[in-house]
Amino acid sequence: MHAHCIHVFIERIRAMIPDAEALFSAEQEWQSIRVNLLKIGRDELVERLHEQFEVKPIPWCEYGLFVRGNIAKMLEYFLGYYHIQGASSMLPPLALEPETQEMVLDMCAAPGSKTTQMAMVMERGIVVANDVNIKRLRALSHNIQKSGATNCIITNYDARFMYKQGFKSRAILLDAPCTASGRIIKDKHRLDQWNYHRIQHMSNVQKMLIRSACECLEKDGVLVYSTCSLEPEENEEVIAYALERFDVEIEPLSFTGIRTRPGLTSWQGRRYEGLERAVRVWPQDNGTEGFFICKLRKY
């Protein structure tokens, strides 16, 4: 089963990019953390961690750090001075630019890395963090408490039907649940769960989620859609679905300090218009997990 999965997985990746084999040789020896600026300054934390670890900045996020070593048992972690967060998962909040927003709706917020990242940089503004799963809600709640962010509200709705509750927001982050194939490099056991039916199932859920997000989005508002999946069915296909049905258009995205590739414009005979403006982060390019990010604006 495992060998078959790897074969199919690699074949699919090969159809997407020419350097598919490089995916498994991606360098993954650094852990990444996000400094909690609500509790400590970046330089002060760097100074403290330098005593025990090798630390270097994450080029695309001013409050992100790469650290080599086991950093989950440190006093600074206990006190919430930093949060362990994937380096590329810091990108969706950067794309949304929450510091300019009055309210951000984070539709699938647990466990709260991106939620607390947004809450941290919002000087005046609130984050409504939602998740449907009660167990994951507890993790979200724990992380928000630990971050010390007082501008978060946690709600427990099924995000697929949030639009029925009359939610409206000018800024929405939809970090959709996914097959997490972008993390396969870090956690090879995920390949055991990898199969096409699961991708199709997740794709259907994601389409319902983006539909709800588009309904909740106010005119001229922005929606950032992201997953840590590499599968086109969970990424470009979902965006194409939203473009066809709702008054949204893709806004170009650019990040400095990270190598990104454009979204796919075709997959298995289907063409995706304008998806080159979306962003794909491939694990082998930066030594991070894979990510897909797309910014939509409602007109």
Binding site: F78, L79, I84, G86, S113, I126, L137, K146, I153
Partner: protein, 180 residues
């Protein structure tokens, strides 16, 4: 979370009262009396639940709006619990806010004792600063406020909640982050 009431599988916050200016000032005075600190809580909306738990949220948060929302799970952060003897048991975040300017009811511990405290064990070696017995004290190590403890005869009882305790390295399991 024990911050609210269970209803159909979820907890809802049961806000008993949103504190007005005068109540907030009284709370600041209470903190000053107890910890000798200068905390400005007027920057926050402060409210109390039916279990006498104090929560704080940014001023931008419209508390009545979210309180009345059917499936609102939590607003802001848990600051501390108001005890019957008019003392406040602070959370780590509450202690961090208070600890910056606190001058009394403090226990200073060494780096060797930090691990014990973080694991939820009693601390036996400490230096007290103007502390009352059988009272809540801020536990500090150098400039870091670690949280709250209860000063007993000969030791400090760690009040670190189970969820925040550090597990002993031998018994630890790999932590999952960013799990989807």
């Amino acid at each position: 979370m024990a911050a609210g009431q269970r209803d159909g599988g979820i907890f809802h916050m049961q806000i008993a009262k949103i504190l007005g200016k005068r109540d907030v000032r009284q709370l600041e005075q209470l903190l000053h009396r107890h910890y000798g600190c200068q905390v400005d809580l007027s920057r926050y909306r402060v409210f109390i639940t039916r279990e006498n738990r104090l929560w704080i949220a940014s001023r931008e948060v419209d508390i009545p709006f979210f309180r009345d929302m059917k499936r609102c799970y939590r607003i802001g952060i848990y600051f501390g619990k108001l005890k019957r003897n008019n003392k406040i048991k602070l959370t780590i975040e509450g202690a961090l806010m208070v600890g910056k300017t606190a001058t009394r009811n403090m226990a200073m511990i060494d780096e060797e004792e930090v691990m014990e405290y973080m694991q939820g064990n009693d601390v036996h070696r400490y230096r007290l600063v103007d502390a009352e017995l059988h009272n809540f004290v801020l536990v500090k190590c150098k400039n870091d406020t670690l949280g709250c403890g209860l000063l007993r005869e000969g030791y400090i009882e760690s009040l670190v909640s189970k969820a925040r305790r550090l597990v002993k390295p031998a018994a630890s399991e790999p932590e999952e982050h960013e799990e989807k």
